[in-house]
Symmetry: C2
């Protein structure tokens, strides 16, 4: 059965189910983008908490630029889950990471929501395949995994379960992008999706180093914030490695530094650098950088890095 979803441009009302740090952050995001938001959360103090979160975030959101008509008072608190989703054009579920709770809530949302809307889960820990098993219309259930705080970090990872229709995945990706998000649409369900796997590899290596007395907690953070972390807001690991290759780019970097992948740097073993993998990396980074010359990328890197350093200094200087 395929569903015909209305255009993402027609969404007016978003229902947010669950209003903790993530759910509340989504509320702030959708309000700032000019939507009507209906929130439901079973906790008795949730309305106060989410209003406080939105109030705290609003000056920041105003500075970043609000959509036309965006107002914090376009938030309604619904008395029941069913009433929250009944009038929604899109639902974002952000319940605690407990599988049974997720399954139950998604069942209830799916049963009560209008038939032709997409329902998205903020889960970071489960696959939609696990969560959609008893849903009445599993084909419209997707994962839309945000990062904290969802009103500031642009990234959303979108992926369906085995029973999700490709149309629902495409719709959700298009809708999130419309609301200003940076969307990664994944073909495969992978535990931890993409960004958290990368974060987690770094985090685990840090734990190993602390555990072995090789680095302190402070040194771990200093090593990131004053070192490679300075470029990660504008150049990811692929572009960084591409630039490490100088004029020869990724191909030269693989030739030059590839062998050190075999060295005991980090406790994570390297995959074999097959010809195929090398070609994928070289082609990928060419696409990623629009094949811009290295000198151009380096100029941009330096300017971004100075801007980042100064921006942070300005804030730290003002608050100390």
């Amino acid at each position: 059965m395929t569903i015909s979803f209305p255009s993402p441009h027609e969404v007016r009302t978003v229902a947010c189910i669950g209003a903790g740090v993530i759910g509340g952050g989504w509320v702030a995001h959708f309000l700032a983008r000019g939507y009507d938001v209906v929130m439901w959360d079973p906790a008795p103090d949730s309305a106060d908490k989410v209003r406080r979160l939105v109030d705290n975030a609003w000056p920041t959101l105003t500075e970043l630029g609000l959509a036309e008509g965006a107002r914090p008072d376009r938030l309604q608190i619904a008395p029941t889950l069913e009433e929250a989703v009944a009038q929604a054009d899109f639902v974002q579920e952000s319940a605690p990471e407990i599988l049974d709770v997720k399954i139950d809530l998604l069942n209830r949302i799916d049963a009560a929501a209008p038939p032709s809307i997409v329902i998205s889960s903020s889960t970071s820990g489960y696959s939609m395949t696990e969560m959609q098993i008893t849903a009445p219309h599993p084909n419209r259930l997707v994962v839309g995994h945000p990062f904290n705080p969802p009103y500031l970090v642009p990234l959303v990872e979108v992926v369906g379960g085995e029973k999700t229709s490709p149309e629902a995945v495409a719709w959700a990706s298009q809708f999130f992008a419309l609301t200003g998000k940076s969307v990664i649409t994944m073909d495969k369900e992978v535990p931890g999706f993409i960004a958290n796997r990368l974060q987690e590899a770094l985090w685990r290596e840090a734990l190993h180093m602390i555990s072995a007395g090789e680095a302190t907690v402070e040194q771990i953070d200093q090593a990131v914030t004053d070192g490679p972390g300075l470029r990660w807001p504008f150049h990811g690991p692929m572009t960084t490695f591409h630039l490490a290759g100088g004029e020869g780019g990724m191909a030269h970097a693989l030739e030059h530094f590839g062998p050190s992948l075999e060295s005991p740097w980090s406790r994570l073993m390297s995959p074999p650098l097959t010809e195929n993998l090398q070609a994928t990396l070289i082609d990928g980074v060419e696409k990623l950088t629009d094949a811009r010359p290295t000198s151009d990328l380096i100029r941009e890197r330096d300017r971004c890095m100075v801007a980042v350093i100064r921006a942070i200094e300005g804030i730290r200087g003002a608050s100390s």
Copy 2:
């Protein structure tokens, strides 16, 4: 034998041996900090290359703020290694990463340099213990590992070899800090030091994902730059995890998210979260954040993130 080093404040002349991307970057750094710099490199075009690098970097360095009297023409090119180091108050070696070359150059530098100065190697791949084996005065040889570009990225990792005196390590740390660097002084020689081990763990997990068809090159970079990477210039993984624990901080985060370390997120296995390791993490992050309340840290995080986003947007917008 202990050496008595003159105060790091008395350094006037720095010798840079090797002037590739890293060595040339050091030249630019020391010139910008108001030192006389003497450079030597065996490549016939090295003088032109390093002058071009300094010229390209100078506007950026000027914007960041030059030391009094800093001028690009305070660079001298020496005809021999021996003449370069003869008058130096400090030597930074940045030769290619070939062990025999490093050993040979450090021997020559050590034999020709004034007896009471510290000699530092930019190596990323070798330990000082391996490199100092035949040096006449191994006690003054340290690693001072920078990040590219050395004139912008503040981090320097300082560590000695088995034959290095603790005084030389302390002196180098103090000197680099005087020149505006963010210094990590390591007690142990660990392959890859600290920051590269962390980078490398992330990089290897990325390679695994690309290799398995779980993510594309573009998605890897997007996942970092538009997600967790946005906070890495101001909050490292430890502070990030601390904030993920909400008001309960690191202790709550370990309790809440600790079990997911056992999940197959990333291919790097987790170390056991012993009581000891947990206590180290909790104490460490308290020290790191000066025990500031979470709400305060979150406010700072949001302001830094907005500043970083806007700074990068400004540059990208202007150049597109």
